[in-house]
């Protein structure tokens, strides 16, 4: 466990979670939740490719159930996680699983998620790194790095001068403080991904406003994951 903050008694009397494993179960729910938020609408189809220990011991740990539970919006402490495949059927979410080799560099508890909604599609790669903490490493083909521990705003936009200024000004206007900011260019073309972690929650209309800017192609908010 390596949360970048002082240790609290609730780190050792907690988290409240559905078992059996903070990394294989609680972390997997969180990755599913992040994918759901990044899709921006309820998913109807999901392809979950499990790597390493997720592929090997995933079924015994309920990793596959946990990922689907997250895609359905259940929290890591929701006891319906074990029925998530059934709930997915009811919600009209079609799920397929396979195993994948993401290479030696990939964390042993990694998953690649391809998910589709009625109008959107999303590709997300991530890992569960212990104690229920996760790391998103790939989003829409970009190599990224964020944890979902804070409220997160993600933009894919034209790579042009002044974009960071505009976004930070926009957030300041809404009294939202930026905790971290990372910009990463797409190797292939004139677009960049911008990931901002904020101290305050981001209202959804804010994202819609950002998406109406001509140079913003994609904007999503990922709410901080609560227990």
């Amino acid at each position: 466990m390596s949360a970048n903050r002082p240790i609290s008694v609730f780190d050792v009397i907690g988290p409240v979670m559905v078992g059996p494993s903070s990394s294989h179960t609680a972390g997997a729910v969180r990755l599913g939740l992040i994918a759901r938020a990044a899709l921006g609408e309820p998913p109807v189809q999901a392809q979950l490719s499990l790597h390493g220990s997720f592929a090997r011991t995933g079924r015994g740990h309920g990793t596959h159930l946990a990922l689907v539970a997250g895609l359905l919006g259940l929290s890591p402490s929701d006891e319906r996680i074990r029925h998530s495949l059934h709930l997915a059927e009811e919600a009209g979410l079609q799920v397929t699983f396979d195993t994948i080799d993401l290479g030696e560099e990939a964390h042993p508890n990694s998953v690649l998620i391809h998910v589709q909604g009625p109008t959107q599609s999303l590709s997300l790669g991530g890992a569960s790194i212990g104690g229920g903490l996760v790391e998103v490493t790939q989003l829409q083909g970009y190599r990224v790095h964020f944890s979902g521990e804070l409220d997160t705003l993600i933009l894919i936009a034209d790579d042009q001068p002044g974009t960071v200024n505009t976004i930070s000004g926009w957030l300041a206007g809404h009294q939202i403080n930026i905790a971290t900011l990372r910009v990463k260019r797409n190797e292939r073309g004139g677009q960049a991904i911008m990931i901002l972690e904020t101290d305050q929650p981001l209202p959804i209309p804010l994202t819609q406003g950002l998406e109406s800017l001509p140079w913003v192609h994609w904007a999503r908010t990922i709410p901080r994951i609560k227990e």
């Binding site: 609290s8 009397i13 078992g19 609680a26």
Partner: protein, 295 residues
């Protein structure tokens, strides 16, 4: 927050306060939240714990892997049928509850990690059995959770609490130490006695490796939770009688960290050594794997 048990005990002695009060104050300072919010957050955890101590007793729990097959329910039925357990009423009923929490965890029920999911049975098992046998109030149990939490925070600062980093001594050993300190204070012991209890419990579990069958948090984890209950109880009684640990608690924690660092990787949750490497465990693992590849 707190980096040593010595510092915690010293503060408690200097101000003539119990450990839980010092730890609660520390948490208030750390989180900048009102006392009532923090207290209620702990109360919510106590309620989740209470449920998990009962779930496995009411009905046999079976896990996805097939390794967990209703031991808590079997043990509880045996007690309820009028058995005279060698371990006596307090320990035997706590054992049943530790099995219940551990199986609830294995079967995707809701638990409170204390300090981890794998060791989550020990603390709630003893707290709720002491409530049943000695009539402690929920408020007193919440106080005990702060004491346990403070010990856990010190361990997390000085060593590890995960099996992958430090072996089972870091999980069930830490849980037993946290529990021993908590129940000593609950029983009216002094802060120093609570610290000795933590030291004794952890000492008696040093060197325990993490070797789960198939890498799953089930076997031998469930039975080690039962054993951790006994270790906490032994340590608490010794401390309450005035027996002291020759090695101070902080030094025992440091020794636990060094032992964990020396532990071969095959004995740190990788399922490549210890019990996990026995022929029977290998055979069980094969069975679980063949099911795994169904998707």
């Amino acid at each position: 927050m707190f980096h040593s048990l010595a510092e915690l005990v010293q503060q408690a002695q200097a101000r003539a306060l119990p450990l839980w009060e010092i730890i609660l104050e520390g948490e208030i300072k750390l989180s900048d939240e009102p006392r009532s919010v923090i207290w209620n957050r702990m109360r919510q955890r106590l309620e989740v714990m209470r449920r998990s101590t009962g779930q496995g007793l009411e009905a046999p729990l079976h896990s996805l892997s097939g390794l967990t097959r209703g031991s808590a329910h079997r043990f509880w039925n045996w007690l309820e049928s009028g058995a005279q357990p060698l371990s006596g009423p307090l320990l035997s009923r706590a054992i049943a509850r530790a099995l219940s929490v551990s199986e609830t965890n294995a079967c995707m029920g809701c638990i409170v990690a204390t300090p981890t999911a794998g060791a989550s049975g020990i603390l709630p098992a003893l707290l709720f059995t002491l409530q049943e046998q000695r009539g402690f109030s929920d408020e007193q149990l919440i106080q005990a959770l702060f004491t346990a939490g403070g010990v856990g925070v010190v361990i997390l600062h000085r060593a590890h609490v995960s099996g992958a980093a430090g072996g089972c001594q870091a999980e069930t050993g830490s849980a037993a130490a946290m529990t021993a300190a908590a129940i000593v204070e609950l029983m009216g012991g002094s802060p120093a006695q609570a610290s000795h209890a933590a030291a004794i419990a952890l000492k008696n579990m040093l060197g325990l490796v993490c070797d789960p069958i198939g890498g799953l948090v089930e076997a031998p984890c469930t039975k080690r939770n039962a054993a951790g209950v006994a270790q906490a109880l032994v340590a608490a009684d010794l401390a309450l009688a005035g027996v002291e640990s020759l090695i101070p608690a902080d030094e025992v924690i440091d020794a636990m960290r060094r032992i964990g660092n020396h532990m071969d990787e095959s004995l740190r949750e990788t399922a490549e050594g210890g019990l996990a490497a026995t022929p029977t465990a290998q055979q069980l693992t094969q069975q679980i794997w063949s099911k795994s590849h169904e998707f």
